[in-house]
């Protein structure tokens, strides 16, 4: 693994060459769909000539392929967008480029970011960086694996219900989902607008802090962005009161995961922090809320794929209804269809109050319980996922089982609070396991600073 400072002050062309060589050597993990070599070398030459500079001058990175980027297609790992070449770039990529960073490729994901293993990609699964018989996690599996393999020091992902944190946990890297509204989403393929959040994969918290200072802030092209509140803390946090979420280490959580979390808790105590158990009973219901709210938003956001303006068009359609219906049937993966149809179901007249509104009311209760917890605790802690990386194919036949991989990450998503996945002790057979640090809205800097202070402890 590498960190951002390893690349600073070196030849940008050499950095890009090394990263691309490494990506090609490690092709069998199928973490990357495309390399953006042409543009990468062009930009590297400009960095080396001094034309482009900044805090990330010459640092290579990768983005999840649901970010629109120049030099190659932007597919969201779907057949729908297989040949879609975007005329614009995601605003977050533009921000990184303005600091001299160089995008070298596009990472694999579950099609349209629907999934928790990257097995729903239309172009094949990404393999876990530590054990090739296991999943990378998802949906940002490719971004996690390129970071874990040291191809690049950081990658961008999107997290709607855990899609950064869970693959970070499965691959032993840092995955950060900031406060909802921190980072512009302009130019990222929309999934569920009320929880979609852009975030980062890194190998250490200092790099996450640097990326947050660059990426966070108001953007006029994304009206949900907040005024910039992010400021890295200069001093190590001391004597924090930390709540261990009881429901996060209960039934259904693997013993190795529990051990890994409790190990981190002990380290926090040794560092002088107070850790006490806290109960958020509503957590039991959050996965059901999530699988109502998110499909509802998915069904709306994916209505735009009509086979007419862009994206896949069926060759077999004989009229307009068939053009819509067949293009969408051919362009979407089965998980996309499940979510769209569940969304149509919960939004149907007669069902709306029973499902969608009930879930949004539950969301209020969840936020209230988080608020109560943050009255007493500075930070909450728990595992990221109930298990380490599972076997490829293990959950593909059972959507509910696949959904439970998100059970510990969706609460922070529905509440819009920042959450970080940091590596803790691995399982006995060497599988990485992350621990999740959650803070109240806009307290992003606190969890990054805490995680930084705990590194090498």
């Amino acid at each position: 693994m590498s960190k951002i400072s390893d690349y600073i002050g070196r030849s940008a062309t050499e950095n890009v060459k090394d990263a691309i060589e490494k990506a090609k050597q490690l092709e069998d993990f199928h973490a990357l769909l495309y390399l953006t070599e042409n543009r990468a070398f062009e930009r590297a030459a400009k960095v080396d000539s001094g034309e482009i500079g900044g805090r990330l001058a010459g640092v290579p990175f990768v983005v999840k392929d649901n970010f629109l980027a120049f030099d190659g297609p932007s597919t969201a790992s779907s057949r729908m967008l297989e040949n879609f070449v975007s005329p614009i770039q995601a605003a977050s990529i533009e921000k990184l480029e303005a600091e001299g960073a160089i995008c070298i490729g596009k990472a694999n994901l579950d099609a349209f970011a629907h999934g928790g293993s990257t097995e729903n990609s239309a172009f094949g699964a990404t393999l876990n960086s530590v054990d090739k018989t296991r999943v990378a996690g998802g949906s940002s599996g490719g971004s996690a694996v390129v970071t874990a393999l040291g191809i690049v020091p950081f990658a961008l992902g999107s997290d709607t219900g855990g899609s950064i944190r869970q693959p970070a946990s499965f691959n032993g890297v840092h995955g950060f989902k900031p406060t909802y509204g921190s980072i512009t989403r302009f130019g990222v393929v929309a999934m569920a607008s009320s929880t979609d959040t852009i975030g980062t994969f890194t190998t250490n918290s200092q790099d996450t802090e640097l990326l947050m200072t660059i990426l966070a802030g108001k953007d006029s092209t994304d009206m949900t962005t907040l005024d910039n509140f992010y400021e890295t803390l200069n001093e190590e946090p001391r004597n924090l009161t930390i709540g261990l979420v009881k429901e996060f280490i209960g039934e259904g959580v693997d013993e190795a995961v529990r051990r890994s979390t409790l190990n981190y808790v002990e380290k926090l105590k040794s560092a002088g922090h107070t850790v006490e158990e806290v109960s958020l009973p509503i957590v039991k219901y959050t996965l059901a809320m999530y699988y109502i709210i998110v499909p509802a938003e998915v069904s709306s956001n994916l209505a735009r794929y009509d086979g007419i303006r862009y994206g896949h068009k069926s060759d077999n359609a004989k009229n307009l209804a068939e053009l819509y219906g067949m293009s969408r049937d051919e362009g979407f993966e089965v998980e996309n269809k499940r979510r769209i149809m569940i969304g149509s179901y919960v939004l149907s007249s007669g069902f709306f109050d029973a499902y969608y509104n009930q879930a949004q009311k539950g969301r209020t209760l969840l936020i209230n319980q988080f608020n109560d917890a943050f009255e007493k605790f500075d930070v909450l802690i728990g595992p990221v996922a109930p298990t380490p990386a599972f076997k490829l194919g293990e959950n593909t036949e059972d959507p509910i089982k696949m959904y439970t991989a998100d059970i510990l990450t969706v609460p922070a998503s529905l509440a819009g609070v920042p959450a970080l996945s940091v590596p803790s002790v691995p399982s006995e057979n060497g599988l990485p396991i992350g621990v999740q640090l959650i803070a109240n809205r806009k307290n992003d800097a606190l969890i990054l600073s805490l995680a930084k202070s705990m590194e090498n402890k």
Partner: protein, 96 residues
């Protein structure tokens, strides 16, 4: 205990603008039925008197100046994205 019948699947597919094969519809019926069974558990949650939360920023009505932003994208580029276009227009099948 099935919530979702095969005719429900076709109705939902229709609402979702999806034309499914028979095989796919059968398979999705089983999956959707399981998912609906799972989300049913939310009905037991007491939400009497609770307001729903549709979004988590406190932002409301974010305004901006009514001015044109230049995204540096040409008409040709946009038309080239459409699977079918003719005479500077996106081509669609006959509607009426």
């Amino acid at each position: 205990m099935a919530n979702i019948s095969i005719s429900d699947v076709h109705h939902l597919a229709n609402l979702s603008n999806l034309i499914l094969s028979d095989n796919e519809a059968d398979m999705l019926r089983v999956d959707l039925d399981e998912i609906v069974n799972y989300i049913e558990e939310l009905k037991e949650l007491d939400t009497e008197g609770i307001e729903p939360t549709y979004q988590v920023t406190d932002l409301q009505n974010v305004w901006r100046e009514d001015e044109i932003i230049d995204y540096k994208v040409s008409r040709e580029q946009l038309l080239s994205l459409a699977p079918d276009s003719i005479d500077n227009s996106v081509k669609v099948p006959k509607v009426l």
